[in-house]
C-alpha cells in the first residue's frame, strides 16, 4: 500500500481500480449492473476532457497553466462547424482552420507569458476573456452545421471501442512519447522544475513554454472538433458548460502532476480523467443528488493532492 502511494501515478490507478470495484459492488447492490457498455460510455464521455487534460499536462509540467481552454473549445467548435457548413468536402479545410486558430491562441498565451512576463494565470485568463468577448459578440446560440461524415468522429465505433476514445489514446500516447523521448520533453520538465537552472544550462526557456502552450491549445482544439462532431454544430457554451478549464487542471493534479511544474506526466493524467469519469458514472447509476456528487469530487481531489504532498514532503526531508 505504501509502495503504491509512493508513486502518484500508481496511486491514481490503484484508486481507479478500487473505485471501479466499489462502484460495481454498490451498483450491483442497488440492483443494477455495471456492464461493458457502461465502461465504453465512460470512455466516450471522458474523451474530450481527456484530450484537454493531456494538453493541460504539458502546460502545467512546463510550470505554466492554461485557463483559456474552455472558451477556446467553444470557439473552435463554432469555427469548425461554420467552415464545414454541412458539406463533407469542407471537412479538411475546417480542421486545418480550427487547429490553426488553436495554435494561434496558444502562441498568444505563450508569448504573453514569456515575453511580456505576465503570470500564466492572468495571461490565460485575459485571453479567455478576450475569446469570450468575441463569442458573446458574434453568437447567441449554436451555429454552423457538421456533416454526417464528420459526426462519425463523435459516435462511430471500431468494434466495441469508440473512435473518440481512440483519438484520446492517440493524443495521450503522442504526448507521452514527446515527453519521454524527445529533447523538447526533457526541457519541459527542466523549465517547469526551475526556469533559472534550465536557462543557465543553455535551454531557451521561452521557446519551451511557448511550444507547450501551442500544444496545449492544439489539444483543446482537437477536443473542440470532437465536441462539434457530437453536437452536429458549434456552440458558444460547449466549452464552459463542460467546465473544461478547471476540470482539466483538476484531472492533471489528481494524476499526480505537481501544479508548480516539473514533476508528473501523461500517464497520471489519463488515470485522473478516468477516475473522475468513473466516479461520475457510478453516481449516475446510483442516481445520487448532483450536489453530493460535486462534494465527493472536491474531496477526492483535495485528499489526493494532500496524500501526494505528504509523500514527496517526507522524501525531501
Amino acid at each position: 500500500m505504501i509502495a503504491l502511494v509512493a508513486n502518484p501515478t500508481r496511486a491514481v490507478y490503484a484508486a481507479l481500480i478500487a473505485t471501479l470495484a466499489i462502484g460495481w459492488a454498490l451498483v450491483a447492490f442497488d440492483g443494477g449492473t455495471f456492464t461493458l457498455n457502461d465502461l465504453v460510455g465512460i470512455q466516450q464521455r471522458s474523451a474530450a476532457l481527456g484530450i484537454v487534460a493531456v494538453g493541460q499536462t504539458l502546460a502545467i509540467l512546463a510550470g505554466s497553466l492554461d485557463l483559456s481552454v474552455a472558451y477556446l473549445i467553444s470557439l473552435v467548435s463554432l469555427v469548425a462547424a461554420e467552415t464545414m457548413a454541412g458539406q463533407s468536402s469542407n471537412i479538411l479545410t475546417a480542421v486545418v482552420v480550427a487547429l490553426g486558430v488553436s495554435a494561434l491562441v496558444g502562441l498568444v498565451n505563450g508569448v504573453v507569458i514569456t515575453k511580456l512576463k505576465v503570470h500564466a494565470f492572468i495571461a490565460t485568463l485575459g485571453v479567455a476573456l478576450v475569446i469570450r468577448g468575441v463569442l458573446d459578440h458574434l453568437y447567441d446560440g449554436p451555429a454552423g452545421r457538421v456533416p454526417v461524415d464528420f459526426q462519425q468522429l463523435g459516435y462511430a465505433r471500431i468494434g466495441p471501442i469508440p473512435v473518440a476514445a481512440i483519438l484520446w489514446a492517440a493524443v495521450a500516447a503522442g504526448v507521452w512519447f514527446l515527453l519521454r523521448r524527445t529533447r523538447f520533453g526533457h526541457r519541459v520538465y527542466a523549465v517547469g522544475g526551475d526556469v533559472e537552472v534550465a536557462r543557465l544550462s543553455g535551454v531557451r526557456t521561452d521557446r519551451v513554454v511557448i511550444a507547450a502552450h501551442v500544444l496545449c491549445s492544439l489539444c483543446a482544439g482537437v477536443a473542440g472538433l470532437l465536441l462539434a462532431s457530437r453536437l452536429g454544430a458549434g456552440a458558444p457554451t460547449v466549452g464552459t458548460d463542460g467546465g473544461y478549464d478547471l476540470e482539466s487542471i483538476a484531472a492533471v493534479v489528481l494524476g499526480g502532476t505537481a501544479l508548480a511544474g516539473g514533476r508528473g506526466g501523461v500517464a497520471g493524467t489519463v488515470g485522473g480523467v478516468l477516475l473522475l469519469a468513473v466516479l461520475d458514472s457510478v453516481f449516475n447509476q446510483l442516481e445520487v443528488n448532483s450536489f453530493f456528487k460535486d462534494v465527493v469530487r472536491g474531496v477526492v481531489i483535495v485528499v489526493a493532492v494532500a496524500v501526494y504532498a505528504r509523500r514527496t514532503g517526507r522524501r525531501a526531508s
Binding site: R181, T182, R183, G185, H186, R187, Y189, A190, G193, D194, E196, V197, A198, R199, L200, S201, G202, V203, R204, G262, R263, R315, A316, S317
Partner: protein, 483 residues
C-alpha cells in the same frame, strides 16, 4: 585562449564592475579572489552569457564574442559551475548532466548514450556512490557538487569556470577536485577558479587576479605573492590570521541546554551539555549526523527519544521561543526569503515571534559587516557571502541564548570571516552558548572550546580545545580509515 578587457557592468544603476581585465591561457589555472560582493561571480556570469556587459569585450581563441544567452557561451566552449547549485532535484543525474544538450539518435533522446557518458565521467572522478539514474534530490550536497562538475566536464569545454566549488565539499573530496583540475589542465583547458580559501588558491593557481569593489586590483603570479600580501590586496589592510582568544575556564557559566540519550531517525544516544560562554565544535564526516544534530536541538527535525532541557522543542517555533537560533547550512533554501529585502529578512525572526526590542537594522548590518549595507536590496541579488551575513543578522535581532551554527563561514570572504569569528566569540563572552559545525578543520579547531566528534549519528568522542587535525579526523573516520 581567453581575454576579457575593460569589462563594466551596472545593475539598476549601481556599478558592480568597472574596467576589469582578465586573461587565461591554455592549461592555466587562474584564481580570482576578492571580498564578498567584489564582483567575482558577476564577472564569471558575463563570461558565461548570463549577464551582458555594459562595456568591454570578451575574446575567446582570438575571436571577439558576445553572448546573448548562456547557450551561446556553452557552444563557444565555456563551462561553468555556479556558486549556487543549479540542478533539478526531480530529475536524474544523467538528465541534469545533459540538460540542454541531450544527445539524440534519429531525433529521439538517446538515454543509453546519456547514461553511459555519465557513468564514464563518474568513473573518471572515482565516484561510485551513485549512478546516472539516481534522482538528484536523493543525493547529498557533496554528491550534487560532483554532478555539477560532471556537467561542466561533459561539455567539451575550453574554459572551465568554478565559482567556489569547494564550499560544499569535505576535505577528501577537495583532494579529488584538485586531481580533477590537474587533469583539465593537462588537457589544455583554462580553469578560472574562485575561492575564499587562500590555501586552495596557492595550491592550484598559476596566476591570481584580485578584485575589490568591482575594480581590478592586480594580477600576479601565485609564486610572487604571500597569503598576507594577497589578503592585504583584497581587504585593503593587514589582517591577523589568528582566531579570537578562547573562553577562560572561569567565564564558562551555567548549563543552558542538555540532551540526554537523544535520538531520532538519524541520531542515537546523544548526550550534550551546552554552557553559557562556550563554543562547542561539532566534527564529523559528511553524513555523520552533524546537521541532523543541530536540527534536532533546534526542533526542525526533533528528537523522538530521550530527554532535553529546558524544553524539548517539537517545532521550530518552540525552539525559537526557547531561545534557540539556527544559522543553517543551506541559506538559500532554509535561511532566507530570497524575494524580500535585506531589512525584511533581518527582521524575519523578530517579527515571527513578536519580539519587541528590535535592534536597529542598520546597527545589526554593521555588526555583521554587510557591505554595502543597502537595506532595500532584495536578498536574491546579494553575493553569496553577503547573504550569509543577513542570516546572521536575522538571529542577532532576538539575542538567542543558544545559537547553533551550521557552516557559519561557508562562502564568506577572509575579512568577513574574521569578523564572524569575532562576533561568535563576542556572543559567547556575553553569555550565549554556541554549537558550531564546520568542515574546515582549522576553523573548527581554532574556534572551539571543546569538540564533539560524531560518527554514524552517535557521539564518537570528545576532544579538548586545540586538538590536532589528525586526532579529529581519526575519531571521525571509524577504525582509522583515512577520510
Amino acid at each position: 585562449m581567453l581575454r576579457m578587457t575593460g569589462i563594466g557592468k551596472s545593475f539598476l544603476g549601481i556599478r558592480v564592475l568597472r574596467g576589469i581585465d582578465l586573461s587565461a591561457t591554455a592549461g592555466e589555472v587562474h584564481a580570482v579572489v576578492g571580498e564578498n560582493g567584489a564582483g567575482k561571480s558577476t564577472l564569471m556570469k558575463i563570461l558565461a552569457g548570463v549577464h551582458q556587459p555594459d562595456e568591454g569585450t570578451v575574446e575567446i581563441g582570438g575571436q571577439i564574442r558576445s553572448f546573448a544567452h548562456p547557450v551561446e557561451a556553452q557552444r563557444a566552449g565555456v563551462a561553468i559551475i555556479y556558486q549556487e547549485f543549479n540542478l533539478l532535484p526531480e530529475r536524474s543525474v544523467a538528465d541534469n548532466v545533459f540538460l540542454g544538450r541531450e544527445p539524440t539518435r534519429r531525433g529521439l533522446v538517446d538515454r543509453a548514450a546519456m547514461d553511459e557518458a555519465t557513468s564514464r565521467l563518474l568513473d573518471e572522478l572515482d565516484e561510485h556512490s551513485f549512478g546516472p539514474r539516481h534522482l538528484v534530490k536523493d543525493l547529498s550536497v557533496a554528491q550534487q557538487q560532483v554532478v555539477e562538475i560532471v556537467k561542466a566536464l561533459s561539455v567539451d569545454a575550453r574554459i572551465v569556470v568554478m565559482d567556489e566549488p569547494t564550499a560544499a565539499l569535505a576535505e577528501h573530496e577537495v583532494d579529488l577536485l584538485y586531481r580533477l583540475i590537474r587533469r583539465l589542465q593537462g588537457r589544455g583547458i583554462a580553469v578560472l577558479y574562485i575561492s575564499h580559501r587562500l590555501r586552495e588558491v596557492f595550491d592550484l593557481a598559476d596566476r591570481v587576479t584580485v578584485l575589490k569593489d568591482g575594480a581590478h586590483v592586480a594580477t600576479v603570479a601565485a609564486t610572487d605573492v604571500t597569503t598576507a600580501g594577497l589578503v592585504k590586496m583584497m581587504v585593503g589592510r593587514e589582517l591577523d590570521a589568528y582566531f579570537p582568544p578562547r573562553a577562560e575556564e572561569s567565564a564558562i557559566g551555567e548549563v543552558l541546554l542538555t540532551v540526554r540519550n537523544g535520538g531520532n531517525g538519524k541520531l542515537d544516544g546523544i548526550d550534550l551539555d551546552l554552557r553559557a560562554g562556550e563554543i562547542v565544535g561539532v566534527a564529523g564526516l559528511q553524513g555523520s549526523g552533524r546537521s541532523s544534530l543541530v536540527k534536532a536541538v533546534f526542533g526542525a527535525e526533533p528528537f523522538t527519544r530521550g530527554e532535553m532541557t529546558p524544553t524539548r522543542p517539537g517545532s521550530v517555533r518552540a525552539g525559537v521561543a526557547a531561545g534557540i537560533g539556527l544559522v543553517t547550512e543551506d541559506r538559500k533554501a532554509e535561511g532566507l526569503a530570497l524575494n524580500q529585502s535585506v531589512r525584511d529578512n533581518a527582521l524575519l525572526v523578530a517579527r515571527a515571534i513578536g519580539h519587541r526590542s528590535r535592534a536597529a537594522v542598520s546597527d545589526l548590518l554593521e555588526r555583521v559587516k554587510l557591505a554595502p549595507p543597502r537595506q532595500e536590496t532584495e536578498v536574491k541579488y546579494l553575493s553569496g557571502g553577503n547573504q550569509q551575513k543577513v542570516v546572521l543578522a536575522k538571529w542577532l535581532t532576538v539575542s538567542p541564548r543558544v545559537l547553533l551554527f551550521d557552516e557559519p563561514t561557508r562562502g564568506v570572504d577572509v575579512g568577513a570571516k574574521a569578523a564572524i569569528h569575532d562576533l561568535m566569540r563576542e556572543l559567547a563572552d556575553s553569555g550565549t552558548a554556541i554549537l558550531m559545525i564546520s568542515s574546515e578543520l582549522p576553523e573548527l579547531i581554532g574556534m572551539s572550546d571543546r569538540i564533539i566528534v560524531l560518527r554514524d549519528g552517535r557521539v564518537a568522542g570528545h576532544l579538548p580545545a586545540g586538538s590536532a587535525e589528525e586526532s579529529v579526523m581519526a575519531l571521525a573516520a571509524a577504525d582509522g580509515v583515512a577520510a
